[in-house]
């Protein structure tokens, strides 16, 4: 009996021991394949609950050390972090400390723009009666320095970088509450005040009232783009107003005369005070001409088909339940699609019963057919709405929306009827060094505490 028991029990014991459970690492791998990658404040970041309301995506590094990168700032105190995505979409955030943060003297960075030629970010830190602009390296060790401090109210409330004329280097744009500064080729020695709004201007208002709530002044809409099909790029400035309807001003810039002249002013069709709080430039109708999309919370966004020649919007996008609909807007080109998608955020939207949880509505404004020439459609409601799957109150999902340039080696799908892949070599879209990858856009959505990257919108996952 005892021998028989041994003969049976020993193999059973071995079999039991040989049983192993699930591999918990499967879930890490599975999380890596999640369509949406969330990243929060990194260790050492001084404002762990203030991460994502000020954010810009930047070009991926040229050394291939990351497939995508973004800069995140806090709105309540000086705090900067770099979020890097690897080729599999895994995100890692790095706190940026050092002298730059110390020199900001407690003033948070509210506006950011990428200086592509220098692989730097232009940071604006406005205060009540003054402000600074700084430059931050986009590659480790992420060194930074204050470029200029100006005693103008809210100097740095809006910043931009791009080609406006002059040399090859990007020209820098910075706004105070009253003045548009242009630093040609990034030089800060020459006179930079190109346009000043004294409050009496009838055209191209840029006066930013400090009576606006802080949230409405974050990420001030300043873009450099050729939206009128002119000879050169223009400066587009969105200006919400607490008293009258907001406006979007389009400036032509003469770098020689150091003068910005008003090309066109877009006023709020519905008199919305927050008209111009967010502005996006993109080819929404797929005709290869930049269009303009202007947010006008609480419930509208206006589409101005490029070239923009009139103040009358081409289309109006309305959210019947909007609370801050249009507070953030982005144009995102999904690989394989003819035009850009419009991402319009409502960070105050109620989701799942949670107030101020926020959401982002996605609209398609291009026609599926190539002929006749595409026409803006902008269906209402949105084709899809993004939100946190576990929403919480005051999460403010959609405080920022942007398109992350993501470096992928995967074969791209047909893009606007043209086979775009395989793309494993060639010049990078950002003009960086040749790399064995192609840059595609990945939607980034910022909330009060996190940044969400949507890798599988559309049928193509670049990871």
């Amino acid at each position: 009996m005892a021998r028989a028991s041994r003969r049976v029990a020993i193999p059973i014991a071995i079999a039991l021991v040989a049983l192993t459970g699930c591999d918990w690492r499967d879930f890490d791998a599975l999380a890596g394949r999640a369509p949406v990658v969330i990243v929060g404040a990194p260790p050492g970041y001084p404002a762990s609950q203030d991460f994502g309301q000020v954010m810009i995506p930047v070009s991926p590094p040229t050394d291939g050390s990351a497939a995508g990168r973004a800069v995140v700032s806090a709105q309540g105190q000086p705090a900067l972090a770099i979020v890097s995505y690897d080729a599999q979409g895994n995100a890692a955030a790095t706190n940026v400390g050092g002298a730059l943060i110390d020199n900001l003297l407690g003033i948070p960075v509210w506006a950011m723009a990428e200086v592509k030629g220098k692989r730097q970010a232009l940071l604006g830190a406005p205060a009540g009666s003054s402000g600074t602009i700084s430059l931050l390296d986009l590659d480790p060790p992420y060194a930074g320095a204050i470029l200029l401090a100006v005693n103008e109210p809210q100097f740095g409330a809006g910043v931009a970088a791009g080609a406006l004329g002059g040399g090859a280097a990007d020209d820098l744009v910075a706004l105070s509450s009253t003045t548009l500064h242009v630093f040609v080729d990034g030089a800060t020695t020459a006179a930079s005040a190109y346009y000043t709004d004294t409050g009496t201007a009838t055209q191209c208002p840029i006066l930013l009232s400090d009576a606006l709530p802080t949230r409405h002044r974050l990420n001030r809409a300043v873009r450099i783009a050729n939206v009128q099909s002119g000879a050169s790029n223009q400066i587009i400035v969105g200006t919400p107003s607490p008293l009258v309807g907001g406006a979007v001003s389009i400036f032509n810039v003469d770098t020689t005369a150091r003068l910005a002249t008003c090309a066109l002013t877009l006023t709020a069709p519905g008199g919305e005070q927050r008209f111009g709080e967010a502005v996006a430039v993109g080819d929404f109708d797929g005709d290869n001409v930049p269009d303009l999309l202007v947010g006008a919370p609480p419930s509208h966004a206006y589409y101005f088909r490029g070239p923009v020649g009139t103040a009358t919007p081409t289309e109006t996008i309305t959210s019947a339940t909007g609370i801050a609909f249009g507070a953030a807007i982005a144009a995102v080109h999904v690989a394989g699609e003819k035009g850009d998608r419009a991402y319009i955020a409502d960070p105050d939207a109620t989701v799942g019963g949670q107030t101020t949880a926020g959401n982002v509505s996605v609209y398609i404004g291009f026609s599926a057919s190539a002929t006749p020439p595409p026409k803006m459609v902008m269906p209402t409601p949105a084709v899809s709405t993004l939100s946190d799957r576990s929403p919480s109150g005051s999460e403010a999902f959609g405080s920022t929306v942007a398109a992350l340039p993501f470096c992928t080696t995967k074969t791209l799908p047909l893009d606007g009827g043209v086979d775009a892949g395989p793309v494993d070599a060639g010049p990078r879209p950002d003009g960086g060094a040749t790399a064995a990858c192609t840059t595609v856009a990945v939607p980034l959505v910022g909330s009060a505490t996190s940044v969400f990257a949507y890798f599988t919108l559309g049928s193509f996952d670049p990871r």
Binding site: G21, D23, A34, S450
Partner: protein, 509 residues
Amino acid sequence: MAVRRVALLLTVCLCASAYPAAAGEEAAPDKALTSAKEAFEAAQAAFVRGDFSAAAEKFLAAYDHKPFPAFLFNVAVSYEKAKQLEKAKQYFERYLEKDPNAPDAAQVKLRLDVIGKLLAPPPPPPAAPPAGAPGNPDGGAPPAGTPPAPGGAAPGAPAPPPAAFAPPPPPVLPDIDTKGLVVIDSKPQGATIYLNDKRSGPFGKTPWQGSLESKPVRLLLEAKGWKPEERQITPRSDKLIDVYIALSEEHYLGWIEITSNIPGADVYIDRRDIGAVGRTPFTGHLKPGPHTIMLDRFGYESVEQTIDVKPGTATQYSILMKGSDKGWVTVTGRGAAGGRLVIDDRPVCTLPCRVEVAPGRRDVRVEREGMEDYQGKLDVGRGTETTIDVQLNPRPPRTRQISTAVVALVLIGGGAVMGHLSQQTKDSINNDIAGGQLVDSGDSRFLRGKLEAIGADVLYGLGGIVAITAAFGLFSHGPESTGMVDHHQISLVPTLAPGAGGLSLTGRF
């Protein structure tokens, strides 16, 4: 049928004619013995009354009627009780003269020594003690417990060392009692006396007198050509028991003598279930007719022989016994009683036991509930007895191991449940992703599934460890049971003796 009726009638008549004669002659064939018995009983009555001198005289009178040495012993005892040690000594000495081989001769001699010392003159007095020293008026040692004499040494004065003046203690005679007496006689004299049964062999021959233990005993008297008789008696120390048996001639029985080349073999007649009737050489009467004689002896094959007993005849049967071709295994030992002996996977007996085993190499196992098995291989030889003295050691209790195994099963079961939950979570996430759901990396299911997987792994691991522990404990042994193996060679050796020849049993150990 007619022949059988005649034989039965004849038997009954013979018994009827023989028994009354025996009973009449048994009563008092010897007047001297009757007188001696009367004197003995009178002496015992006086002894009980404490009239020891009269008792001595009565015992002496009994001796005059029948000179049994026991009477002299009782005379000596009576005089000793009457404090007439000189006479006591005299009669003890006469007792030994009459029966120098008496079983109690040694004790009587020791008693005589003590009496001699008591009768010896007292030792000379020791040197005079110092003045004032306490002492007896006669100058001897003071009796034990005697207080110091008045006017002696003052309290506190140094006392003389007691050893210097202590005389040797007087010898003490241990208590003694009179002897009973059993007198066994028969007609004819010379009959063999057996006590209780014949298996212990002959006790003596008639006439016999002596003392027996004070407990019931069965007397068997047997004489060749005479019908055996038996009596039940209860000897006592204060009684003279006179047994006289007149044997009647036995004409209708046959007298047999059974011998074998192997002395001491158990003798069975006709049946084994009533046990052996004696051992070889065996003598006795048997009813006429066919009988089966069976002889058993360890190490030898059993022998059966049919004999035909003729009435009134004496026949000697010499039966040859052969050594056995088998071997034997005997298992005893501490903690083995009640265990089971298994030879070649076949249970054979309950311990302690001895079994006959075919010669050869055998697997032997001793099992007992709660004890570790003893296992071994034995080379069983022909005519060899192999003795295994096993010491079974207790097996560790399994209760704890079973409890541990249950815990292991619970843990492993918990692991399986956790693993199942983890798999469900993983499937749920995969399904959502495959279904186009925008599952984010912060989804709580990732952490939950990971914890479930880790929990499953931990439970599996713990369960495995506990299971191994349980299995190890379950199959672990206590101290090995051991056995001491002895081989005893039993063989037959030709033997020649004066007037006899045959085989004798020898053993090598």
